[in-house]
């Protein structure tokens, strides 16, 4: 054990900033991170043991206890439930003989819940030893468990056909489907990779590139919508010995999966975009920070990078441009939604807990290791290539005045054809629903849990930064769904689990509000509760990052647009009820002392 850890530490040059990689290697090798491993690691890195645990305990996929020879992570997003998660869970528990959150006594099978794994268009889905199993059925689960009990290698569990698109490639061999249903400039097949690096860049100065990006008016595709050209310009101007390009592929917003599809189908475009950005800001190192849920893509993405190096699209003096050196490494996360927030991502990149930083300073001034850094979404980098290829002016013909270009939507839930759709900004929700074959729709969650839940009276609204802003997650709920019980509570619990805990507001208020929501759902609500929820939610605006500021949105937005759902649950004849239940509260003591509760004293 000690030697293994030693080798791992040496592999990363005893660099504390690579603690994430070290922990991932240990976790994957041993199935957990033992006390001994922590002790050795802390000694070699000259940290306290608690300090190692500080990082370790932040991430969902790290564990100090064995997670089983086969560690099953079953997605628990609302869409998974809509497509039978309960039955899948039951099948796993029954056939494996162990409950979720535990490992079987023989150490073979561990069952765990996990937040959205980016497979909302093919749920129910689970990750088993880094391999993704989609469209699970109870029959299939029994089959899988049987093979696990027989100690079959994980590759043998992969019985069915591979997914569409490039998922059949030898380095992927994945059951995941890309489900591309509509192509635009990014997903289209009419671009020959490398064209911009080879043919355009020799004719353009870095300022020229930034000029085109600015002219295109493209805004960040991750959801926040910051003008990309400005970001690159700020970073280029910022003083620093090095500049970094970081691609945010920590696609954690439940219901989003388009980055997974872009990285599967067009990884070269993303990497080319990163190199292009490196050229523009004067940076030589790029890092793709990708969520651990997409670990199955590791070999494939490494292979693509390798190929690009061989073709001279990465490396030194790219395209013969003197001094244009750029290369990319891949950094995996380990299960933390908040790391999608750019400054939390930087902390994670440096081997620390993913706690967002205070701003200012912004990453363009002080980013990775304190150097000026741009962090852009996967889709933004891919789009930048097409912008520079065709010019900023060309780009503005797509979309609307304030939202230029196309947007790739991840559409899931109650519809005929879930999957990925690239549309021009300005598309309205009604058209979108008709496009995907969604009928009798009760609500659409636009932009994931941190976004907005809208009903039919708002389906005329359009997608764009000035109306319905979205990173691309669209979850459709039919009339048969119980929005409050099955969606809002699920999303609130997601935020409670995923908060980094740093801000007093986000750490506590989500819990307080969820408790109140549950009280209402238990039939104990009174009219004042709705007022409370509305007011309390405002406290979250004082949180440091976007996660915290939007963490009450599931309640706030459903309360605004589906108030009647709350109102019908309220008690008609009461204006005070804090949820106290006398019978329930005396149950434990009465049964312990051996008496039958009596309530007839009145």
């Amino acid at each position: 054990m000690e030697n293994t850890v030693k080798q791992i530490v040496e592999k990363y040059n005893s660099n504390r900033n690579r603690l994430m990689d070290m922990l991932i290697d240990i976790q994957e090798g041993e199935g957990y991170i033992s006390r001994d491993a922590i002790a050795t690691l802390s000694q070699l890195l000259d940290m306290s043991q608690a300090d190692v645990e500080q990082t370790l305990s932040f991430y969902h996929f790290f564990s100090t206890k064995p997670r089983g020879k086969y560690a099953v992570y079953l997605n628990n997003s609302p869409v998974a439930y809509m497509f039978g998660r309960e039955a899948i869970k039951e099948a796993f528990e029954k056939s494996a003989g162990v409950r979720f959150g535990e490992v079987s006594s023989d150490g073979k099978i561990g069952l765990f819940d996990t937040a959205c794994i980016g497979m909302n268009d093919q749920e129910p889905a689970a990750i088993i030893n880094n391999m993704v199993f989609t469209r699970l059925t109870p029959y299939r689960v029994r089959e899988l468990v049987k093979m696990m009990k027989e100690d079959k290698p994980i590759e043998e569990l992969r019985k069915e056909s591979f997914g569409d698109g490039k998922n059949y490639l030898p380095s992927l061999r994945s059951m995941v489907s890309s489900n591309i249903r509509r192509k635009g400039m990014i997903l289209s097949d009419d671009y020959h990779f490398g064209t911009v690096l080879r043919e355009k860049l020799p004719t353009l100065s870095p300022e020229g590139v930034i000029g085109e990006i600015k002219h295109s008016a493209i805004r960040g595709r991750g959801g926040a919508g910051f003008p990309t050209g400005l970001k690159w310009e700020f970073c280029r101007r910022a003083k620093g010995d090095k500049h970094y390009v970081v691609c945010n592929a920590d696609e954690g917003e439940p219901g989003t999966f388009k980055d997974r599809v872009i990285l599967t189908e067009k990884p070269e475009l993303v990497f080319e975009g990163m190199a292009l950005a490196g050229y523009a800001i004067g940076g030589e190192e790029g890092i793709l920070y990708i969520r651990y849920e997409y670990r199955y893509m590791k070999d494939y993405l490494e292979e693509v990078l390798h190929k690009m190096r061989k073709e001279g699209l990465l490396g030194t003096n790219i395209s013969g441009i003197e001094g244009f050196n750029f290369d990319i490494r891949i950094q995996f996360g380990a299960g933390a939604y908040v790391c999608g927030e750019e400054s939390a991502l930087l902390e994670s990149l440096e081997g620390k807990r993913g706690e967002p930083r205070d701003k200012p300073p912004f990453p363009v001034e002080k980013g990775y290791l304190g150097y000026p850094t741009i962090i852009n979404n996967v889709e933004t980098f891919a789009t930048a290539v097409r912008i520079v290829q065709n010019g900023g002016e060309w780009f503005t013909q797509f979309g609307t005045d304030d939202s230029t270009g196309t947007k790739i939507l991840s559409i899931s839930g109650d519809c005929m054809f879930p999957g990925v759709y690239e549309v021009n900004w300005g598309f309205n929700v009604e058209d979108m629903l008709d496009m995907v074959g969604a009928y009798d729709v009760q609500a659409v969650q636009v932009g994931g849990p941190s976004g907005t839940l809208i009903g039919p009276d708002e389906f005329h609204r359009t997608l764009g930064y000035s109306d319905l802003s979205t990173g691309g997650s669209m979850i459709i709920f039919g009339q048969q769904r119980n929005l409050l019980r099955d969606v809002v509570v699920n999303f609130m619990e997601f935020f409670i689990d995923e908060s980094c805990g740093s801000c007093s507001t986000c750490r506590n208020m989500t819990q307080v509000m969820n408790n109140k929501l549950k009280k209402i759902l238990a039939g104990k609500g009174v009219p004042n509760d709705l007022k409370d929820l509305q007011e309390w939610g405002r406290v979250l605006n004082a949180s440091r990052c976007g996660l915290g500021q939007t963490a009450a949105n599931p309640i706030i937005s459903s309360l605004k647009n589906f108030r009647h759902l709350y109102e019908t649950l309220l008690q008609k004849d009461k204006d005070f009820d804090e949820g106290f239940d006398l019978e329930k509260s005396v149950q434990a003591s009465c049964s312990y002392v051996g008496r039958v509760p009596v309530f007839n004293h009145h």
């Binding site: 106290f580 005396v586 003591s589 051996g594």
Partner: protein, 182 residues
Amino acid sequence: MSKPVVATTSLAGCFGCHMSLLDIDERILTLIELVEFNKSPVDDIKTFTKAVDIGLIEGGVCNSENVEVLKSFRKNCKILVSVGECAIMGGLPALRNGIPVEECLHEAYIGGPTVQLNKDGIMPNDDELPMLLDKVYPCHEIVKIDYFLPGCPPRADLIWDALVALVTGDPMKLPYEVVKFD
């Protein structure tokens, strides 16, 4: 005009807040002029005999009897005031809130170091006894409470000022020194 009527009770408390009420010293004579006491340990009236204007509650809610008394106060009093930390947040009795009630009972009647006479490990379970709640509740999580006077106990001056303000309708003064949680 008849005098405002006051009732008081101590639920899961130590009577310290009542002692603090007595700490208003000679002002107690003025108080008697100002108000009439109904159900209260102060005059030993056991049941409500008329409509009450102001009910002062000391102590949190730890058993079924506390619930019943608190509810009867709510029913019979126009204004209810939580007096002291126990009424407001459970106070010291609520230190047990992190411990399962079974463990508390076991410690009290069987396992505790001072339990020697209960050799047969008998648990008090007569129907006449109040039933223990799973935790100690603040009063305002059981019934609506109108005002809160913090302190352990609340300073006599705070109780006095609050009573006078409630009776006269004047705004309450809250000098820094009197609002304390200990």
